[in-house]
C-alpha cells in the first residue's frame, strides 16, 4: 500500500525578516512560512515557548503579539511584520507578568511544568485587560491552554492571587 503525503508544499527559499522580540530587533534569514515557534526555539534560542501539538490545540506555544495571546505554532514568521512579540522569557518585565509569575511560585502551581509558560502568557494577557476576572472570565481566557497534569485548580487560584496582588 502506498502512503503518500499528498499535500505538497511550496519551498520558497529564505528571506530576511526583522522582528521585534522582547523589545529587541532580531533579524533572521529563514523561510517565511517557518512558524514563529520554531524561529524562537531553534533560531533565536528562546526555548521557553513550548511545542505541544503544532495545531493551535494546546496553547503550550502561547506568546504575545502586541499584548494579545497568540499561538506561535500557527504564526508564520512572514506574518509577524512590525508586531511586538513578547515571550515567557520577558513577560516578567511587565508588572502584571511579574505578579503572575510570583503567584505561580507562591501557590506552587506546576507539576511537570511544560504547559506553564503558555498558561502564564494567557493569564498575563487576561489580567492585563481584566484586572479582576471572574471564574467565567478565567474559563474563557484559559481554556485554550491544556495542562496535562491538570493543575487547573491551582492555575485558577494563582490567577486570583495575582489579581489581588495587582490591586494592592
Amino acid at each position: 500500500m502506498l502512503i503518500g503525503k499528498t499535500d505538497r508544499v511550496e519551498f520558497c527559499g529564505t528571506m530576511k525578516y526583522s522582528v521585534e522580540i522582547n523589545g529587541a530587533k532580531r533579524t533572521v534569514d529563514i523561510d517565511g512560512e517557518t512558524p514563529l515557534l520554531w524561529v524562537l526555539r531553534d533560531t533565536l534560542d528562546l526555548k521557553g515557548t513550548k511545542f505541544g501539538c503544532g495545531a493551535a490545540q494546546c496553547g503550550a506555544c502561547t506568546v504575545h503579539m502586541n499584548g494579545h495571546p497568540i499561538r506561535a505554532c500557527q504564526t508564520p514568521i512572514a506574518s509577524v511584520g512590525d508586531a511586538r512579540i513578547t515571550t515567557i522569557e520577558a513577560i516578567g518585565d511587565s508588572k502584571v507578568g511579574k505578579h503572575v509569575q510570583e503567584a505561580w511560585i507562591e501557590l506552587d502551581v506546576p507539576q511537570c511544568g511544560y504547559c506553564q509558560a503558555g498558561q502564564i502568557m494567557s493569564a498575563t494577557a487576561l489580567l492585563t485587560r481584566n484586572p479582576a476576572p471572574t471564574d467565567h472570565d478565567i474559563n474563557v481566557a484559559m481554556s485554550g491552554n491544556v495542562c496535562r497534569c491538570a493543575t487547573y485548580t491551582r492555575i485558577r487560584a494563582a490567577i486570583k492571587h495575582a489579581a489581588k496582588a495587582g490591586s494592592i
Partner: protein
Amino acid sequence: MLARRNFLKVSLAAGGGMLLTATLPAAAKAATLGKAGTDAVALNAYLQIAPDGLITITAKNPEVGQGVKMMLPMLIAEELDADWSKVQIAQADLDARYPGQVAGGSTATPLNWLPMRQVGAAGRQMLIAAAAAQWGVPAAECETAPGVVLHKATGQSLSFGALATQAASMPVPDVKTLKLKDPKTFRIIGQPTRNLEVPRIVTGQPMFGIDVSVPGMLYAVFQKCDVHGGKLVRSNVADIRKLPGVRAAFEVKGGTDLRGLLDGVAVVADNWWQANRARQQLDIIWDEGNVAGQSSHDFAATAIRMSKGRPESILRRDGNPDAAFGKAAHVLEAAYSYPFLSHTNLEPQNCTAHVKDGQVEIWAPTQNPAPGAALVSSTLGVPPTAIKVHMVRAGGGFGRRLSNDYMVEAAWISKVAGAPVKLLWTREDDMRHDMYRPGGFHFFKAGVDANGQLIAFRDHFVTYSQDGAIAASADMSPAEFPARMVEHLEFGVSMIPLRAPTGPMRAPRSNAFGFAFQSFLDELAHASGVDPVQFAHNILGAPRLLPDPPMPRQGPGFDTGRMRGVIDLVAEKSGWGKQTFPHGTGMGLAYYFSHLGYFAEVVQATVNATGEITVDKVWVAGDIGSQIINPLNAENQAQGSALDGISQALGQALTIDGGRIVEGNFDSVLPLRMRQAPPVEVHFLVSDHPPTGLGEPALPPALPALANAIFAATGKRIRSLPFKDHDLSAAA
C-alpha cells in the same frame, strides 16, 4: 585546597539498606564534583557541602512532574538536619551508584523512605564526629540544629560548612548505628515545601528534554509505519535529501520489537521545522502485514461473541457462582468497556543523542533510563560502558516514558548522520506510536441477597493478547476487588489478538478496572436499595488484612479497614447522604486500592437539558500512610490525578482502524480544559503504616465516581468510556 582524597560513599544497595565503601572510583569522583562550586566536599554520593554551608543534594530519580526531585532530597535533608534554605538540588545522571533510577509504579516513596533518611543520618553522624574530634568531646554529647553541630555543655558550635572537609574523612557509620529522628521532630518532612524548580519554570528557562542543545546539533524527525510493526519496502528518500535545510535523509531497517528501533525514514535538517517539512514530501511503500480484524469495531464484535461462550481461561473461582445466583434476591448483568488511550505527554517524545568514536552520549526525558541504555547498547552494538545517559526533566511521564523507543531512534539517527541530533516527534507521531493503555471489556453478573450482601460475582474479562501472550498491562490480578470479599466468585479471561503495542499508563489496569468494577458495584447497590456507602461497608466487612496471592506485583496485602476509613472520611467531607439534589444533579462514590494507596472519592455532577455534563466538585480522601512528606505537592498530585481520571472519562478514546490509530491530535482526543475543571478537595487520613506513593492511586476512583454521580443525577447508567460518546439529553 581541600582534600579530596577521602571521599566516602554511602549509597544504597538494590534491595534496600545501605552499601558502604570507603572510596569512590576516580570516574565517579569526577562526576560528583563540579556542580556545587569547586571547593564543595562530598560526604557521600548524594551529599556535598561547601565551606559556606551550601548543601547540594543529588536527586537520583527521573523527574516527570511527580515531584520526586524535591521529595528525595527532603528525606535526606531532614535527617542531615540541614537548613533547607541552604539546600540546592542536583539531578543525577544514570549512574550505577544509584539504585532504582526509575519513575514508575508510585514506588519512589515506599522504596526510598528509609534509605534516603539513612543517607542523611549518616552524613549528620559524620559531621557530629568531626565536631566532636575538633572539640575533644564525646560525639554522644553533641547535637545538631539546622546547619550546625552544637556542644551545649561548652557552648561551642560549628557550621556544617566549616566541618565538611573533616567530616568527609570520618568513618562511614554502620547503618545499624544510625539514629533516625523521631517523626514528631521533623522540620522538613511534613512541611508544605515549594518546588525549587518553579522559578525556572515560570521564567521559561531551558530545562526539558526538548530544550537540550549541544554544539553542532542537527534536528531530526522519523517517519514510521502507522500500522505498528509495518516494514519499509521503498521510499523516495533520495528526493528528500535535495530539500532545503536537509543534511541527511535515510532509511532505517529496524527490528520487530515494537518498543525498539523500527523501520522508518529519518530526515535530519538544520532546524526542526525544515526537517518536518521535508518529511511531508516522503512517499513510502510499506508492507503492513496482516491487519485483518485490527479495528475497534471488530474488537467490540469479537468481545461480544466471546462473551456468549465460556472464557478461554479461568483466573479465579471461589465457591459456585452459578448456584449462588439462584439464591440471590437481586441479580444483575451488565457489559462494560473502555477504549485504548494514549498517554499524551504534553511534551512529545524526544531525545538528543551524540554518537562519536564509539561513545554514545544521550540526553533523555525518560522515566526509565537503564533499560534505554541497554536498548541502545544492543541495537547499536556498543558496550554499556560507552553509553552516558543524562536524565532531563520530562514534560509529563504517565508511563509512556518507561519505554525508550525515542532514545534508540535518536542514537541510531545520530550514528548514521554523524552528528549530534535532537529527535522530536510530532503530536501525531506521539499519538500514533504509543504503548497504549489497552482497551477492555467486562461482562459482569452478580447477585445480592436480601440483606444487601454481595454473595455472587462473575466477570468474563475480554482483553488482548500479543504474539500469543497476554498484552502488556492488559492482565488482571486474581485478587482484583471484590475478589476475596465474595463467597462465590469467578474471573474468566478471553483474549483478542492485537498488533498495537500496549503498556502501563498511570495507575495501569486500575485506571480501567476502577471504572468497570466500581460502576457495576454502584449499580448493584442501587438495584438492592442499599446506599452505596453502606453497600461498601457490607462488602468490606470487618477490618482485616488480606495478603496478596503470589504474583509479580505482590504488596503487603489489602487492608479492608483502611479502605473503609477513606470511604467514611470522604462521605463525611462531602456531606454524603445529607443533601437532596434536584433532578439533573447527583453525587457518586467510588473507592479503589492501587499502588499501596487507599482512595475514596465523591463527585458531584450536573447534567443539563442538552445532556452536557458539569463536574461540580470532587472530594478525595486518601490513606498513604503515616506521613505526607510534602503536603503542598501531595495536594497537587491528588488533585491532578483525580482530574486526569475525569479527563479520561469525559473525552478520551483512541480508535483503531486497519491496524492504525485514527486520532492524531487534541481535536479528537479531548483533554480536560479549564472550563471543565471542578474544585478538588483533598483529605488525607494519616494512619500508622509506612508512607507510600502518590503518583497514581488517586486516579482510579475518579472515573467511576463521576459515572455514579451521573446515574444519581439522571438515572442513566454509563457503561462505556468516554462519556462524550453518550447522549444524555433525554436523561436530564
